[in-house]
Subunit: 251 residues, 4 copies
C-alpha cells in the first residue's frame, strides 16, 4: 500500500452486470450526499470498496463504540434485474485542485475495471432567487446523452450552470469522457449552503423514474422539516436580536 | 493517459512549415486572450491540440446544448504562404507557481516537436496613469530579436515592465530560450483589470504588420464600445450612490 | 539521503522486545508533547532515531552553545522487563495534509520494522465548558482494544470527540490499522490552547497504571503552577486595562 | 533538462581550491543579499552556475535592453591564494517549505561536487529594541566551529536567535551537516524589514577579517545614507499627516 496518492481497498470482489455508477459526494447544499446516502439506506446497497487518499482530510472519525475509521470515499453496489447500480459517496472531496484530478482519475480507473459505461454525478446548483420547486439542471458528455435525458424532468442549456461545474461532479464526467465513459450531471437548484433534502428528493425522483427504483422518502421529508424548523428558529432569533438592538438605540 | 501532470491530446497530426507560435492566455486586461481569440476567429484557425492538466482549475464548462468540456489550453494552426502560425490560447493559466513551470515546460516541448523556432507571447501591462494610446512594450530573449522588433511599433527597455513579467508569458520565453527557441513578449498598456479590447487591437495591428495578416477589427471595436458603455454606467451609478449618501447625511 | 519526502537516521540499531509505541507530538494544549517529554525525562528514555522531512517546517533551532539542529521527529526507547516502550515525539507535526499522510505512513513503516504491534497516541481534546477534573477520552482501532482499555480511567463513545481526531494522532492509528497494528488514542480534556500540564499528568497516570511505570510528577505540577500563575496575572492585567479604559472615558 | 525540481546550468567548469561557500540570499533586512552583492562587485567574482527551479517565483526580469532572464540563484567564484571563495546569491529563496528543502538539498549537492567543506550563510536577525551598533549573532554546526568563530566579532548562544533560523540560511547548514559539511550562520541585528546596508557592512567586516579580503565600503555607506534619508522623509511626512488630521478635527 502506498498512501502517496490514492489507496483502493476491495472488501469484496464483485462481478457487476452493466453497472451504472451514481456519484453523490459532499458539495453545494449536501444534495448529492443526501441523495446518495438515502439511496444506500433505502435500497440496502452494500459497501464493497474503500478509497483512502492523502488528498482527503487528515482526519479519522470515531463511532459510538469509540472505534475509529479514516476519512474515505466508498463504493456501494445494488443488484438489479438487467443491470446493477454502483453508488459512490464519501466523507469529503479531494481538498486541492491537483487532488481533485488525481482522485477523479483513480475513480474512473476503478469504474472502468468494474465495467461501468455510464456515470451519473449528482450535485447542487446554488441560485440567488427564491425557489418554489427546484429544477434539476443537467449537463452531459455528449448531445446523444443530453437528448436521451430530455424525457425525464431535467432542464438543459440556457446558460446553466453559469460558471460551469466545479469539483468531482464535473471532473469525473470529463475524465470519464476521455476514457470512453458517457456521463450526466444532475444538479438540484438550491438557495445557499444549508443542507437541502428537498432538492435531494427531487433528484432521487428522477433517478427512481429512470431506474424503476422503489424508495420511501419519509426520512428525507423528516430531515427537510427539521431543517426548515431550525431555520425558522434562526430567523426568529435574528429578528428578536434586531428588535433588541432597535430598542437599545431608541432607549 | 496520466492526469498527474499534463495531458496532450492531438486532434490532428499536422505538418507545419516554419511555424511561429503566438500565445494568448488569460491575464492582465484579458488582452492576450482577446487578441488570440480574435486571430482564431478572423483567420479561421483550426484547433489541433488540447492540453489538460491538474494545474488548471478542476472545472468543466457547459455549452448551450448542455454538453460539458474540461478546462484546457488549446493549440490552433493557420496555414500561410512561406510559414505557418500556431496560436496557443486557453481557459486559464496554471494555478500554482510549480504548475506554471510544469505547464510551460510541456508547452515548449510540444512547440519544439512542431518545429517552432520562434514564440511571441502576448500580455497586458497594468499602469496607473491615464492612457491616451496604449503603447506595446516588448521584452525578448536576446538583443538580436529585440533589435529586429524595433522596426515595429514596439517600445523596449527604459525599465519597463518594472517588476518583470509574471506567469506564462515570461516563463514560456525563458524556458524556450534554454531550449534554443527565440522569443518575444508583446504587452499592451492597460488601466486596471477590466478587459481591454482596444489594447488587444493595438497588439494585433503589430502582428498584422509583421505577418501580413488580413483582419477586420469591428468585433473588437464593438466589444470596446460595450465595455466603455458599461463602465460609464457603473460610474454614473456610483455617483448616484454617492449623491444618495450625501442626501442622507444632509437630510 | 533524499530529503524529498522523509529521511530516517538511526543513531543506534536497537533490538526491542514486544515494543509498544507511545506518540506525543505537538497539538491541542501541548498535552501529548508534555506527556512524552515527561516520560522521556523521568524514565531516562534514550533517543535512537531521528526523522527529518520537507513536511516539517524549514527551520533550525540553536542551542545554548550556538549549535544548530534541524526540526525533526524523534524516537526514544525505554527498556522494561517483559516488553519495551518506544516514545515518538518531535518539534512539529507535518505542515500539510499530504505531509501528514506521508509522514504517518513512514512512521508506521519504521514502527513495523521495530516490531511494534500496538500504538498509543496521545492528544488533547478541547472543550468549551469548565473542566474540574479532565477526563481521558479514548478511541481505538477495534472494539477489542476499546474493551480492553475500559478497565483504565478512559471514557469511550457518547459522540466524543465530536469532529473526529485531526492530524497524526488519528492518522497513525488508521494507517497502522491498515497495516495490522492495533492502536488507541488517549485524549485529555482541556480548555483552549494554552499548554495544559495537568491534563498531561492525567494521561501519564493512565499509562503508569497500564505499564507499571514509576514517575515523579513534581516537574509537571510545577509547570502547571507556573501556567496558572501566568494566566492569573494575564486576567488581572486585563481587568486593570479595562478599568484604565473606563477611567479614561470617565475622565 | 527537467524543470520539475531544480535545474543546474554550468556556464563554466571551474576547478576550485579548498572552496569556502558564502551564501547571501534575500531575507530579513536584505542583509545577506546586500552583503553578497557587495562582495561580488568589490571582489570581481565571476558567475559560473545558474540554478532555476519551479520553487522560485514564475517570473522573468527584463534588463535595460529589453532582454529577459528567468528568476534564479547564482554561484560566483573568487580565486584567492590558498583557497577559493564561492558566493551563492539569487533573486529569491524557494517559495514553499517543501521547495526550501528541495533547493537546499540540491545546493548542498552542487557544493559537495565543487569540493566545498565549509559553508557560511548570511542573514538578518530582526530585534524590536533600538540598535546602536548591530551585533553579529552566530550559529554553527558544531561546538568546534562555534569556538573557532569566537575569535571574530561574533556573539553566540544566550538564547539567540530565539525562534531559531527560518529558511535557507539554517537549512543549508543543517543539510550540509548531515552530508559532512561544516557551517556557520552569521546574522546581523536589524530593526524591521527595510534594507539594512549598515548591518551588511558589519557582516562583511567579519568576513574580510576572516578571509583577508580587501573591500571598499563606500557603495554600502551610500546606500545606508539614502535609506536613512528616505526613512527620515517618511517620518516627517507621517508627522505632517498627523498634524493635518489634528487640524482637521480641531477646525
Amino acid at each position: 500500500m502506498d498512501m502517496d496518492k490514492v489507496v483502493v481497498r476491495f472488501l469484496e470482489k464483485r462481478e457487476l452486470k452493466k453497472p451504472v455508477m451514481i456519484v453523490g459526494l459532499p458539495g453545494v447544499g449536501s444534495i448529492a450526499l443526501l441523495a446518495a446516502e438515502h439511496m444506500i439506506s433505502e435500497l440496502k446497497a452494500k459497501k464493497f470498496v474503500e478509497v483512502y487518499s492523502e488528498h482527503l482530510p487528515a482526519r479519522v472519525f470515531v463511532d459510538g463504540d469509540g472505534v475509529i475509521r479514516m476519512v474515505d470515499n466508498e463504493f456501494y453496489y445494488i443488484k438489479k434485474g438487467g443491470y446493477d447500480l454502483v453508488v459512490l459517496t464519501g466523507d469529503s472531496q479531494a481538498q486541492t485542485q491537483e487532488g481533485q484530478y488525481t482522485m477523479a482519475e483513480k475513480i474512473i480507473e476503478i469504474a472502468r475495471n468494474m465495467g461501468v459505461k455510464r456515470i451519473i454525478t449528482l450535485g447542487g446548483y446554488a441560485v440567488a432567487r427564491l425557489i418554489e420547486e427546484p429544477r434539476i439542471i443537467g449537463a452531459g458528455t455528449s448531445r446523444k446523452i443530453v437528448n436521451e435525458f430530455r424525457k425525464y424532468e431535467v432542464t438543459f442549456g440556457e446558460g446553466e450552470p453559469g460558471g460551469g461545474i466545479v469539483g468531482a461532479s464535473g471532473l469525473l464526467l470529463a475524465i470519464g469522457k476521455l476514457k470512453g465513459i458517457e456521463g450526466m450531471c444532475l444538479m438540484g437548484e438550491t438557495n445557499g449552503y444549508i443542507p437541502d433534502p428537498f432538492a435531494a428528493k427531487k433528484i432521487l425522483q428522477v433517478l427512481s423514474n429512470m431506474f424503476s427504483l422503489q424508495m420511501d422518502y419519509s426520512a428525507l421529508d423528516e430531515k427537510a422539516k427539521q431543517i426548515e424548523s431550525f431555520t425558522e428558529q434562526l430567523k426568529a432569533t435574528s429578528h428578536r436580536a434586531k428588535s433588541d438592538d432597535t430598542l437599545r438605540y431608541i432607549g
